[in-house]
């Protein structure tokens, strides 16, 4: 029998598990998450699949895992007691942050508590200047005293971030040596090894976050290993990183800052892979669950990445202007825009007489009114039930019973009546407004970057994504929607499409027109050597390694940078003058594309950070083209009345299974599945593609 690859995604409420063999056979399973020790739910879920399928531990060839364990440690303040060593005069970089706050006119704003309290931030007398010259040497005794002081305070982890260390790491290396000698039992992180880049706050924050979650991540991965062994699974575990590539357990333990946004990455990776297979290189993904919706952009078959992000910052209302929330991490991550819009988002009428949806959420508990678990506030899910979009009696294959009457009564009283609207019209309005809130997330990854959403297809997943995709796509004039198989578990499913990938970067400030090509070539090759060594350790032969160069550039004097893919290298493989000119031109083009204007040739382009992406390619495609879901589809439900706005009104709408769409069908249709409901509005057509995705053409 074929061996299986397994994707496991842990969310706050559910743990999703997907089994896949090389023939395309798929088993899926949703189990409640075990918040005390997330690894237990994984083992439980695996055993349930084993029971159902007569598979056993040895049938598992590889486990791929997306986890929120690192971000939870930060959100819940449960990381290690961490100490920080800084340059004299810069003890408070971590707490001063960049001073900005994410709220205007809010006297009640509180900054997130710093991860290292001031008494655990220790200074050493030393200084390296911006050219990397040692201005004041670090005495070994001073380094020892700093380490000893933190050890005496009982810290579990120590982060080190000295000024300008990215130019010259000598002093940080000395501290590393001293740490190994005097505190070998402690976790330690050196900023030069975590993020050798300019900007002391970003580097300090990233290094501290890394140290802070390191013991938690290590413990979790050990526990996972134990649970897997108990289930006789001895297959290797690969972890999803925030950047969309896989890494090993050893690497995740060393640099857990790379797996902070591991959770939502899987879905985007899967979307990119599936869309690429059907010849849609440009898609916008929409992942909508119970409390938030996330959008990202896939362009030319590649997902886009942001250079930094904040973890635990709360949900931005689609705006990236108000930074300063959460904990900043400067590592590449799939660029996700998130808004507080989900099935649980609360609908209300404000003092100005306007209807608002979210960002407040009824969450999983008490949940929407129609769940009948004590929820008092009308939600988006209640609106969807009123509209006939969601099965009024049950969800999740019958496991969750609904009380539609209660939802109607509360929505009538709290929303429709105060606005003087008919119930259905009010519910339809809530659906539209929730969609318009999510459109802000889509705009922030598309039009705010000079990308016209009309040229993209929408790839919708998550429990609620397929329900809203058509409304949003219509408002954005997008023409096509894809809904993948198992949309409600797609974050787990997507893990199976990922490749091994590592990112390396360093600050290397040079004006391109004046730079020495040989020097730049050497620096990039040094990063390549690091990547090659890492991939070799992971067992990749040279022919399955791929290296790509990207660069963060700006016009000299600009503050912000754009990440640009470097042009292909010259024939002899070495960087030359003409190649640097092409790189500068690529920046000008990207600037024009993103912002609508570019500077003249007289303005010099400056390289700020060079980046190397090292990929380990699989020997054969991991996911076959044709998939067979082993879960039996629900019985077809006949039809029900659904409301499509004041003009179309109530319309008799067939309720169908996914497989019923094989020959193509015209909307309105409701596709009910175990893990999600998909809405095909009047006027749209739905069909299935060769990979089992629903294709909706508007």
């Amino acid at each position: 029998m074929d061996r299986y690859r397994v994707g496991v995604d842990i969310g706050g409420t559910f743990t999703d598990i997907v089994f896949l063999d090389s023939g395309g056979r798929v088993h899926i399973r949703k189990v409640s998450s075990s918040v005390e020790d997330y690894a237990q739910a994984i083992a439980r879920g695996l055993e349930q699949v084993f029971d159902e399928t007569s598979l056993a531990g040895p049938d598992v060839a590889e486990v791929r895992h997306g986890t929120t364990v690192a971000s939870n440690a930060i959100l819940e303040n449960k990381g290690a007691l961490t100490g920080l060593i800084t340059t004299r005069g810069f003890r408070d970089v971590l707490e001063l942050r960049n001073l900005r706050m994410p709220r205007l006119y809010d006297l009640a704003w509180e900054k997130p508590a710093e991860l290292v309290e001031r008494y655990l931030r220790v200074e050493v007398e030393e200084r390296i200047n911006s050219r990397g010259e040692v201005v004041r040497p670090l005495a070994r005794e001073a380094a020892e005293a700093a380490v000893d002081r933190l050890v005496a305070q009982g810290v579990e982890a120590i982060a080190v971030c000295l000024l300008n260390s990215f130019e010259n790491p000598a002093h940080e290396r000395l501290l590393k040596e001293v740490l190994a000698e005097r505190a070998p039992h402690l976790v330690s992180c050196i900023s030069y090894e975590v993020l050798p880049e300019v900007k002391e706050y970003e580097r300090t924050s990233t290094t501290v976050v890394n140290a802070y979650v390191m013991p938690t991540v290590a413990r979790y991965l050990e526990s996972l290993r134990g649970e897997l062994e108990a289930a006789s699974v001895s297959a290797p575990v690969m972890l999803m990183q925030s950047n969309g590539g896989l890494t090993t357990v050893a690497d995740a333990i060393r640099l857990p800052c790379n797996i902070i946004e591991s959770g939502p990455a899987g879905g985007v990776v899967g979307a990119q892979a599936l869309a690429r297979r059907v010849g849609l290189p440009d898609v916008i993904t929409l992942d909508m669950g119970g409390t938030t919706a996330k959008a990202s952009l896939v362009e030319g078959g590649e997902f886009t990445r942001s250079l930094e992000y904040s973890v635990g910052g709360g949900i931005m209302q689609g705006s990236r202007l108000l930074t300063g929330s959460g904990y900043l991490i400067k590592v590449p991550a799939i660029d996700l825009a998130e808004v507080g819009a989900g099935g649980g988002s609360i609908v209300r009428v404000d003092a100005g007489g306007s209807m608002q949806c979210g960002p407040e959420s009824a969450g999983a508990v008490p949940g929407p009114v129609c769940y009948d678990q004590g929820g008092e506030d009308p939600t988006i899910t209640d609106a969807n039930v009123i509209l006939g979009y969601i099965n009024p009696s049950h969800l999740v294959g019958g496991e969750l019973k609904l009380n539609a009457e209660r939802g109607r009564a509360v929505f009538e009283e709290r929303v429709a009546r105060p606005l003087g609207l008919e119930l259905a019209h009010a519910a339809y309005g809530a659906h539209q407004i929730a969609a318009s809130n999510m459109i802000r997330a889509i705009r922030s990854v598309s039009s705010e970057r000079g990308r016209d959403p009309r040229r993209y297809a929408m790839f919708a997943f998550g429990g609620n994504g397929p329900l809203f995709a058509a409304t949003m796509a219509a408002a954005l004039h997008m023409k096509r929607i894809l809904v993948p198989p198992a949309p409600g578990l797609f974050s787990a499913f997507g893990l199976l499409y990922a490749d091994v990938e590592h990112h390396y970067s360093r600050t290397f400030r040079r004006v391109l027109a004046e730079a020495d090509p040989a020097e730049i070539d050497r620096a990039w090759r040094a990063l390549e050597d690091e990547g090659r060594a890492q991939l070799a350790r992971e067992g990749f032969p040279a022919e399955r390694m791929r290296f790509r160069r990207t660069a963060n550039l700006h016009y000299k004097g600009q503050i912000y940078e754009l990440n640009v893919a470097a042009p292909p290298p010259p024939a002899n493989g070495s960087v030359d003058r003409a190649w640097l000119d092409r790189l500068a031109e690529a920046y000008g083009e990207e600037h024009e594309r993103t912002y609508g204007h570019r500077a003249g040739p007289e303005e010099p382009v400056e390289l700020v950070n060079m980046v190397l992406v090292a990929e380990g390619l699989p020997d054969a495609p991991v996911v076959p083209d044709t998939l067979h879901l082993d879960r039996p589809e629900e019985e077809p439900g006949g039809s029900r009345s659904a409301y499509f706005g004041p003009e179309a009104g109530w319309t008799k709408t067939p309720v169908v299974r996914r497989s019923d769409l094989a020959g193509g069908a015209a909307g309105p249709l409701i596709v009910e599945e175990y893990d999600a409901t998909c809405l095909v509005p009047p006027g749209a057509r739905a069909s299935l593609d060769d990979y089992g995705s629903i294709v909706i053409d508007l």
Binding site: E95, L107, E117, E200, L321, M355, P418, G429, I433
Partner: protein, 605 residues
């Protein structure tokens, strides 16, 4: 209550409109050449109706609230029907719609169906617009003519054709034209983006509905504001405070006087009684005084009210002309930011008299601006501009924030490493200073200091700061914060400088600025001893101050509070004060003094 005909269509339109304003702001933020724009977010973007009335402002600088309507009014009035597709307007003259010279406004009218239906508006603080001091920010200029290039309301583009004369004048009169041009391009791009997106919206909704909805967005904000104001108690309150001096006449404190009247669903902020305009460059335009007043009042109203004309209809702001709150020619105004920050604190003081449990004590006084500029050995100019503030006063429910920007200007600090890489300076310290925060049941935020060393042969140093003589006030028993300080070469021949100064630095000189500490709120003897212990352990507060100011005895060996000793000490400190209760506002350490220093009082130093 609801007056909107189609609440759903309206909400969708409003969402789109505010995204446009934000998207304009992002365009500027991401393409700017200047740290002032990107890190300090010293710019704003907005969307106005055909008459120039503000409909939506991006989430950027509170200090610009109210500035765009004033400038647009001038443009609409001046050009009126002589406004055509392809026109773009520019201005910066404070006496003709502007704020201060570095703030350059760019407006683009938007046409649909042959008629003007809206304006896209941007305002950016440019790093330099010429004048006698690099950065065009000097606080010691005495006439506007010293401050740089004055641009009256003009067409930068006339029916799509660029007015090259304006570009040429700008190029010859600013120190680093490449920066100014880069940032002007960003402003133009933001307006273009607004035009494109708004026209899409008009296409979807139709011209008439779009017009109606724009008015509805204004009415909606007005309704929200009125409803919120109506819930505040009726009455009249006043507050006075003083700016140290204008940098020219050092022995003359400058009075700010604010009267706030609240009646029904209206508010009035009247600055009559504020000092006459001064020679130093800290005179406000009325538009800036409005921005300060709106900022304070919006901070006691609920979140979520859109920024637009509807808010301004409810809050009336007046200031007599010829005062520092409303200067007339030839008033210098480059450094008027200082006065704006101080007016926010003054208006907060008045609101604290009206709403004792809603408002914080005095902040550090707002941004200090440090500019170090000159020429390197090859005569290439450099300008290092750093302005930040970061300390709030104690609040009735919590300590003042520390290391957090001011309510009036949500600005970021620049990275020391980037400053060192780009400018001939080395940053020697950027850290909190102990025992500078005003003690209180909820203490003020701890201030920080920056030490900057010049690594070039010579440069002009210019500092605009305040709260060196008149300390940040404490409220309801809270003690005032410690004053700010400017010190040249703190480690060798330390020389104290005034709060506003222009001088020369030479290679190796170090300038230290220490911000003032935030004022405290409530009696420090009522502070939770565990909080005091934590402050001592973290070295924000010394053991001595814990004992003398808070009556808390800390054992540093075990990091515990000596409960018995603390109880006894607090009792004895209380009895030492006598029966008198403290005044609601305190600028000095005297527990029972009325606290008000007044123009004639001894400056604390």
């Amino acid at each position: 209550m609801a007056e909107i005909q189609d609440p759903i269509g309206f909400e969708l339109f409003k969402n789109s409109l505010f995204s446009i304003a934000d998207e304009m702001a992002l365009t500027i933020c991401r393409t700017t050449y200047s740290g002032v724009l990107r890190d300090n977010m010293d710019f704003s973007t907005a969307f106005a109706d055909a008459d120039g009335k503000l409909v939506a402002q991006g989430l950027t600088l509170p200090g610009h609230l109210g500035s765009i309507p004033t400038a647009l009014d001038v443009v609409v009035e001046r050009f009126g029907d002589d406004t055509h597709p392809g026109d773009v307007f520019i201005l910066n003259d404070p006496f003709d719609g502007g704020m201060h010279l570095p703030d350059i406004f760019i407006f683009q009218p938007i046409f649909a169906g042959g008629e003007r239906i809206a304006y896209a508006a941007t305002i950016c603080h440019h790093a330099d617009v010429g004048g006698r001091v690099p950065g065009s920010n000097a606080s010691d200029s005495t006439e506007i003519y010293q401050e740089g290039l004055r641009i009256p309301p003009l067409k930068l583009y006339d029916r799509g054709r660029s007015n090259e004369a304006i570009w040429a004048f700008v190029e010859r009169n600013v120190r680093i034209p490449i920066q100014v041009f880069g940032d002007l391009r960003a402003q133009l791009a933001a307006c273009k983006i607004a035009e494109r997106q708004f026209l899409e919206l008009v296409e979807a909704y139709g011209i008439e509905t779009s017009r109606t909805y724009m008015q509805e967005v204004i009415n909606y904000a007005e309704r929200l504001t009125r409803a919120a104001v109506a819930e505040l108690p009726d009455g009249e309150v006043t507050f006075e405070d003083w700016i140290d001096d204008d940098g020219i006449e050092l022995d003359r404190p400058i009075r700010l006087f604010c009267r706030i009247e609240k009646k029904g669903d209206r508010m009035m902020v009247d600055w009559t009684g504020t000092s006459d305009q001064v020679r130093g460059a800290i005179n406000n335009t009325l538009s800036f005084t409005k921005a300060a007043s709106y900022t304070a009042i919006r901070s006691v109203l609920p979140q979520g009210i859109p920024n637009n004309e509807g808010v301004f209809r409810v809050i009336e702001v007046t200031a007599p002309s010829g005062t520092i709150a409303n200067g007339v020619l030839p008033a210098a105004c480059a450094a008027r930011g200082l006065t704006g920050f101080r007016m926010v604190d003054c208006a907060f003081g008045a609101l604290a008299m009206m709403l004792p449990d809603r408002v914080c004590a005095a902040s550090d006084g707002g941004n200090t601006c440090i500019t170090i500029g000159g020429y390197d050995a090859e005569r290439r100019p450099f300008i290092c501009v750093d302005f930040t503030a970061g300390t709030w006063g104690g609040r009735p429910w919590a300590d003042g924030l520390q290391g957090n920007s001011n309510m009036f200007a949500n600005m970021a600090s620049q990275s020391a490493e980037v400053m060192e890489a780009e400018q001939p300076v080395e940053i020697l310290a950027y850290e909190f200073v102990q025992d500078r925060a005003g003690p209180g049941k909820f203490r003020g935020g701890a201030p920080y200091r920056r030490d900057i060393r010049l690594d070039e042969a010579e440069a002009v140093l210019q500092i605009r700061s305040d709260r060196k003589k008149i300390r940040p006030y404490g409220l309801y028993g809270g003690r005032p914060g410690q004053p700010s300080a400017n010190v040249l070469n703190p480690h060798r021949n330390a020389q104290a400088l005034e709060s506003k100064v222009t001088t020369t630095m030479f290679r190796g000189d170090v300038i230290r600025h220490e911000w003032a500490g935030g004022g405290g709120w409530g009696d420090p003897l009522e502070r939770d001893p565990a909080q005091v212990l934590r402050d001592v352990r973290n070295e924000y507060v010394s053991a001595g101050s814990a004992r003398d100011d808070y009556g808390v005895v800390v054992d540093p060996a075990t990091w515990t509070v000596d409960e018995a000793a603390t109880g006894a000490l607090r009792a004895s400190l209380r009895s030492g004060r006598g029966a008198a209760s403290p005044p609601p506002v305190a600028w000095t350490d005297d527990w029972t003094g009325d606290g008000a220093p007044g123009p004639a009082a001894e400056a604390a130093d």
